[in-house]
């Protein structure tokens, strides 16, 4: 339960971070370390060098750029939870932040770290899939922008190359037509989810759904978009029956792994129920709050 030996260097700016990473192919980036340090302690990872980017101030900002909210990679989960701009323009993200681990971890863990870690059971990747976010990355070769859907792979893989960092995430700012919902179930609030879902949708002035998408939590080997959800929702004033059909369509092909928390069938049912509850929340249908029912 102690990390293996490694070297450690603090990067004072991005160029220094790129240089340190490029000089060592077994180097890893550390910021909050809330996923990496347990992985080191459990000896699932043994990098030769940790490059600490947590003191690069320019990566901390949360700001509005036109219709877009840009969240710096070093914004902490607790910043996302309490930031006024996030609450106003991306309330789904603010709500999801309260489900990310425990308060002590949210005080250290960074948004960019959670994205680069790409854990299937994590909240933020699912939310970014639902919102159609763009991941901004940089290396010494320059900046790239990648759609969330193309960024996340399976088993903690992403489209990041060695020497490349997540610098920011851009999410579309919401307006009066934006609808969202979030639901998750875990044995203890803050522990890794058994299943969950984030829903992001738009309705027109008449209340008719014009766009809908969702990200599923702990549903597969990587962060998982809910495919074809929109087919049951777009063009309708969404009813409970529509939500149920959308859930069936989005979850029928899922095969989450059986684990200590339950069989694959059970976990698919939890994911489906989470998605149903998130859809209910998004479209103003009768809601059930897991937290209140379990308290």
């Amino acid at each position: 339960m102690k990390p293996p030996p490694f070297d450690y260097a603090v990067a004072s700016d991005l160029n220094e971070a790129f240089a340190l990473l490029e000089a060592d192919e077994d180097a890893k980036v550390i910021a909050g370390g809330q996923s990496l340090i347990p992985l080191l302690s459990l000896r699932f990872a043994s990098p030769t060098l940790l490059v600490d980017i947590s003191r690069i101030r320019e990566l901390r900002a949360i700001r509005c750029v036109g219709e877009t909210l840009s969240i710096g990679a070093l914004a902490r989960h607790s910043d996302i939870e309490t930031d006024a701009a996030v609450a106003t323009y991306a309330p789904l993200l603010a709500a999801a932040a309260t489900w990310v681990a425990h308060p002590q971890i949210r005080n250290r863990g960074t948004f960019g770290g959670a994205i680069a870690h790409s854990d299937s059971a994590a909240e933020f990747p699912a939310v970014l899939l639902a919102m159609g976010a763009t991941i901004v990355t940089r290396s010494s070769a320059g900046e790239r922008r990648t759609a969330a859907r193309d960024f996340f792979g399976s088993h903690f893989q992403t489209s990041l190359q060695h020497g490349e960092l997540v610098t920011a995430v851009e999410v579309p700012g919401g307006d009066a037509g934006t609808r969202w919902g979030f639901s998750e179930f875990a044995r203890r609030k803050g522990d890794y989810a058994i299943g969950g879902a984030a829903v992001h949708a738009r309705v027109d002035a008449s209340g008719t759904c014009v766009a809908a998408s969702a990200g599923l939590i702990a549903a597969g080997p990587g962060p998982t978009p809910a495919d074809d959800l929109d087919l049951e929702l777009v063009g309708r004033r969404v009813t409970e029956d529509d939500a149920r059909r959308a859930v069936d369509r989005a979850t029928q092909g899922l095969t989450p792994e059986s684990n200590v928390h339950g069989s694959s069938e059970f976990r698919r049912a939890v994911i489906g129920e989470s998605l149903r509850r998130a859809l209910h929340q998004a479209f103003g249908l009768p809601t059930v709050d897991f937290r209140r029912t379990s308290a």
Binding site: P5, F6, A101, N107, R108
Partner: protein, 165 residues
Amino acid sequence: MKTHITVNGEGHERDVEPRMLLSDYLRHELGLTGTNVGCEHGVCGSCTVLLDGEPVRSCTMLAVQGAGRRVTTVEGLATESDLHPLQEAFSACHGLQCGFCTPGMLMTLLPVYNKGERLSDEEIREAISGNLCRCTGYQQIVESAHKALDHAAALVEGGEDTAAD
């Protein structure tokens, strides 16, 4: 690696290995064994300390990451003669049995106490949701928190400062 950390108001400079966890630094380098180490991978909360006034898990942070920062441990709570009001409340309400989780509970609740606001049962449970206790069933811990927060709120209402960190 030369690392300077301020712990309970006192500066310490030590040459530490990069892989040393902050929890081990506190216990083995400084001899501050009040910080307990339970799961050592971020689940149980017993190693919670304050970093620049905010609760964090000291087992999930490298000591070298604490360079130039301010850490408060459970040893920073009581004075020579008096327990901190949070500790008094845990004692009065039987908020512990074996005591292993207690330093983590206290340090998690300290910033809440310092705000001087009363919280609901649900808010207290949310605040301590990252801390496991295997003895009490949490009831008396919630009671202890209420007692301490009532005390803090009364101080604030009386125009006094809740204190230290």
